[in-house]
Amino acid sequence: MVNNENSKGLCLAALTTLYLGPIDWQINCGECVSLAGASGSGKSLLLRAIADLDPHEGEVLLNGRSAMSMAGHLWRRRVGLLPAEPFWWSERVGDHFSGDELQYLESLGLTEEAMEWEVSRCSTGERQRLALLRLLQNRPEVLLLDEPTAALDPQSVEAVEALIANYRRQQQAVVIWVSHDPQQRQRVAQHHFCIEGRGIKEVEL
């Protein structure tokens, strides 16, 4: 087990999934990296492996602590994955929220009324924004975002980008942002990566 208390941020050590790896990757606290790659290249599976939702080989460390050193659910509270298509376990939106974490609602153009909505009657864009808020409740130290603005209008895209940038700075969070839009990648991330073969490569946009 690799363990280095001094290393800050997210570290992948020879992480291997079905399609990718072994991948070594170090992302510092407060840093956002963008990740692109053809559909089916294994981006989503890579994010799932980092959140420890799929069996994988190799290790993931956060601030020097291996995922294996804590229970799966505790790891996933710290390493939050926002899937491209979020699912809901209750009919009422508010059932997915604890109630005291509504401060971000307005910044995304939503009001507290949204808590009374039925999930099935929300638009795809509303659901995507609500899912982001749902995830932020845990105050994750790592955000794995799988095309988080795919279903949003330009105004909401801007709001989501601003919210995540704020959160990242305040919490010194690590963000991996999967996006196909070069302009968005330029806006949100400091470093840019592409999937190439079974590995990832840093690229200039």
């Binding site: 959140a51 420890d52 939702l53 799929d54 069996p55 995922a67 229970a71 799966g72 659910h73 505790l74 996933r76 509270r77 939050g80 994955l81 899937p83 298509e85 979020p86 699912f87 809901w88 376990w89 997915h96 749902r134 995830l135 845990n138």
Partner: protein, 263 residues
Amino acid sequence: MNFISLSPLDLGIASLLVVVLALLSFRLALGISRKLLFAALRTTVQLLLIGLVLKLLFANVHLGWVALMSAVMLLAAGRIVMERQERRFVGWWGYGVGTLSMFLSSFTVTLITLLIIISPDPWYQPQYAIPLLGMMLGNTMNGVALGLERLTSSVYQQRRVIEARLLQGQTWCEAIAQIRRDSMRVGMLPMLNAMAAAGLVSLPGMMTGQILAGAEPMEAVKYQILIMFLIASGTGFGTMGAVHFGARRLFDERERLRLDRIG
């Protein structure tokens, strides 16, 4: 006991009814005449065989034989439970989950009954032990099969929702809680219905058999009440156990949902 012994001719006349039914099914092109005749034949052979086995067992009262017979019954029940699953657990678990739960519940309840409630001498007297265990297994089997089937099919259908819960940082227990409760309930419902209908709608088979065989009705009723309680608890514990073990098996040590463990 005074009862009228049945002759082979009596059974032959009854079998004619089944033959007539098969002919009618054939005329109506239901496509089950052959199956019907085969099933009737199968039940005859199986029951005659078990009659011979029981006769032998009653003549040679020995714990070893009773244990062997019980093991065969348990393994057969385990197989039936497995065959009734559309999505069964991969590997030994497919057979093991149901069989282990039935073993734990049916055998425990039967042992308690034999040792404390009926207490025949010796306690493993096959005349009591085998029919009791048979009733327990037969009913527990239904509950376990229903519960497991509900568990695996719900988890398969709701896999994305379960994963959403896991991604939110819920424990595997929280993520499966609702489905686990539903599955246990589904497994136990038929037994609840049977208790509600007993005597009003249906005269339970065991009681009917005893009365036909000449037993005093109140004696038969007392036995039937005992059996109902035993079946209820045996089915309930067995279903809870199977759903519990099954739900645990669906997640690994990292609390990941492992659908690759069901086929």
